[in-house]
């Protein structure tokens, strides 16, 4: 089983990111669960989402304390120490970063994938919802699932122009990810 914890702010689509990934994993025949943890619900408030994936049914219905992978939707979070709580050694970090990342943000990170998701989202869908772009980066960095599954999953959440735009975000998030192995 893999445990992925997503961090972001209200309005960045972190909760939807976890749901998109869950659907993507299920289309590949896996089991997945995803749920959010809120403080007060408002734009800008910290939001976490918990995603679990496995080849067999998942029984844990609890928050994630020892993630295998972290996904940071907002560049702000990379400097917040709490975000890395419990990250397992050999952990993977997927992040939205405006600048190129060179150093290990935390000792347990052995693989890092970053992309300027905010810019890509603004270019492709005209809003700073970084979720679909980061989903692509997630696939590229972790190799837990295929980009094609994400594109298929997006059909459950968007249609028309919004679907096309978000598919472009996911593809760019995948292709333009800077991946560093430490």
């Amino acid at each position: 089983m893999k445990e992925i914890r997503l961090h972001g702010r209200g309005g960045q689509g972190v909760v939807m990111a976890s749901e998109i990934l869950a659907v993507a994993f299920v289309t590949e025949g896996k089991y997945a669960t995803a749920f959010p943890s809120f403080g007060t619900e408002r734009r800008g408030a910290p939001v976490r989402a918990f995603l679990r994936i496995d080849d067999k049914p998942i029984r844990e219905i609890t928050q994630i304390y020892n993630p295998d992978c972290l996904l940071l939707a907002d560049p702000f979070f990379q400097n917040v120490a709490d975000v890395y709580d419990g990250l397992k050694p050999g952990g993977i970090l997927v992040m939205n970063s405006q600048v190129s990342v060179e150093n290990k943000p935390h000792e347990n990170v052995t693989c890092l994938g970053f992309v300027d998701a905010t810019r890509i989202a603004l270019e492709e869908i005209n809003r700073p919802s970084t979720n679909t772009c980061l989903a692509g980066t997630f696939a590229a960095t972790t190799r837990y699932l295929n980009l094609a599954s994400i594109e298929l999953a997006l059909e459950n959440f968007f249609n028309g122009k919004a679907l096309e735009g978000n598919i472009r975000c996911a593809r760019r998030g995948f292709a333009e990810a800077g991946i560093i192995k430490f």
Binding site: Y31, A32, T33, A34, F35, R59, T62
Partner: protein, 397 residues
């Protein structure tokens, strides 16, 4: 697999699963008022209604009291009905809620378990529905999104049984299941229709062609007969719930154990008892403890009302100690409600063994692997005579 082949795999949240199940059961009237964390059920039902998938009278009401009142009217006329609520919504409709069960109306209502204020909160606990245990409704507790969907279908078959005729609450934890997305197999509409009884076959209905009087004013003796019959109907529900679970397994390939679910309990020396989502997490902890050599088992109470005395007694007889996780408090007894009821059962069955209560998970506090692990350690200690403390408040100590 044994099942009919018509299922479709989707990723649904608990709320979405509840709404989908309601649509599959083809209710005649739906009335519900939104309240966190149930609101998505009402939103989803509106979407289905707008698409034409829900061919029901969707009554917009100004509050939960009205919602239940509408359903009482509709159900009294022979309609199949559905609603959903949570915590203060349940409190708001309480007068009608009690009326619905005592009128013997087969209403099915999804209940999302949420804490009761004060202090102010919208987060999970089972205080709301367990506090309402004596309102005469059947209460089934779910531990997965799939179970929510399946239990609503089974709920209608149970409620509409002529020897039962009682409303059913299908309960699931707020946020931990309501907002929790998981892989769910959605059964085919035709298969659900086949599984459910024909609608509107009830003898007691409001029918202008055959007028009846509903809820007459009655004194002691006659009134008491109806309370007696209600209690009898609750007892009739006990074997029926197990039976319907077996029938569901035959039709759809899934079973939940009926009144209770037992996990690794066959050779267990100590047992953990829990309801809802925490019991699902507990299975993972039990596997970890078993790997360490601890002979621990889980009993998940699915049906809380009627209380499954016989099956619980069988499941708990012969163990050395029991621990109960309560996501609620029983004011006045300084313990949890489930623990209090289990104490009563064991006394009645004359089973004398050490029992310890863990109060945890109030107002959305996470019942996690560590907490459950601690609880199991305590039960083990208690089985060896190590502690005489009855109640541990896991989030405080």
């Amino acid at each position: 697999m044994g099942a009919t082949a018509g299922g479709e795999i989707k990723v649904l949240s608990g709320n979405q699963a509840a709404a989908k199940a309601a649509v599959l059961c083809q209710p005649d009237v739906v009335a519900a008022y939104p309240i966190t964390p149930q609101s998505e059920v009402v939103e989803e039902l509106s979407k289905f209604y707008a698409e034409g998938a829900l061919q029901a009278e969707f009554v917009e009401v100004e509050g939960e009291h009205s919602a239940m009142s509408v359903l009482i009217g509709a159900s009294s006329s022979g309609g199949r009905t559905f609603s959903a609520t949570s915590s203060h919504g349940l409190l708001s409709m309480f007068e009608a809620y009690f009326y619905a069960s005592t009128l013997r109306l087969p209403i099915v209502m999804a209940h999302v378990c949420r804490e009761l204020a004060a202090p102010n909160t919208v987060l999970c606990s089972q205080q709301d529905i367990l506090t309402m245990r004596d309102a005469g409704w059947i209460q089934i507790h779910c531990a997965s999104c799939q179970e929510i969907l399946d239990s609503i279908i089974m709920g209608y078959r149970l409620a509409e049984d002529p020897d039962i005729l009682l409303p059913v609450n299908i309960c699931y934890d707020g946020h931990y299941l309501s907002h929790f997305s998981a892989r769910v197999e959605v059964p085919d509409q035709t298969d659900v229709v086949t599984f459910l009884p024909e609608k509107d076959l009830r003898e007691c209905r409001l029918d202008p062609d055959k007028p009846m009087m509903q809820a007459p004013y009655l004194g002691g003796k006659l009134f008491t007969e109806y309370r007696y019959k209600h209690c009898m109907a609750m007892q009739n529900a006990l074997p029926e719930i197990d039976y319907i679970d077996g029938e569901f397994q035959k039709s759809f390939g899934r079973s939940y154990g009926g009144l209770i679910e037992e996990y690794r309990n066959e050779d267990a020396e100590i047992v953990l008892v829990a309801l809802g989502s925490a019991a699902s997490t507990a299975k993972a902890v039990i596997d970890l403890k078993r790997d360490e050599g601890v002979k621990v088992g889980l009993v998940r109470i699915r049906c809380f009302r009627p209380f499954p005395c016989d099956r619980l007694e069988k499941a708990l007889r012969g163990v050395k100690a029991i621990g109960v996780i309560d996501r609620d408090v029983c004011f006045g007894w300084n313990m949890g409600i489930v623990f209090m009821e289990l104490r009563s059962l064991l006394n009645r069955s004359q089973i004398n063994l050490p029992m310890v209560n863990f109060i945890a998970g109030l107002s959305g506090a996470d019942i996690n692997i560590e907490n459950i692990g601690r609880a199991i350690n305590d039960i083990q200690q208690v089985s060896r005579g190590g502690s005489d403390r009855e109640v541990t408040w896991l989030d405080l100590e």
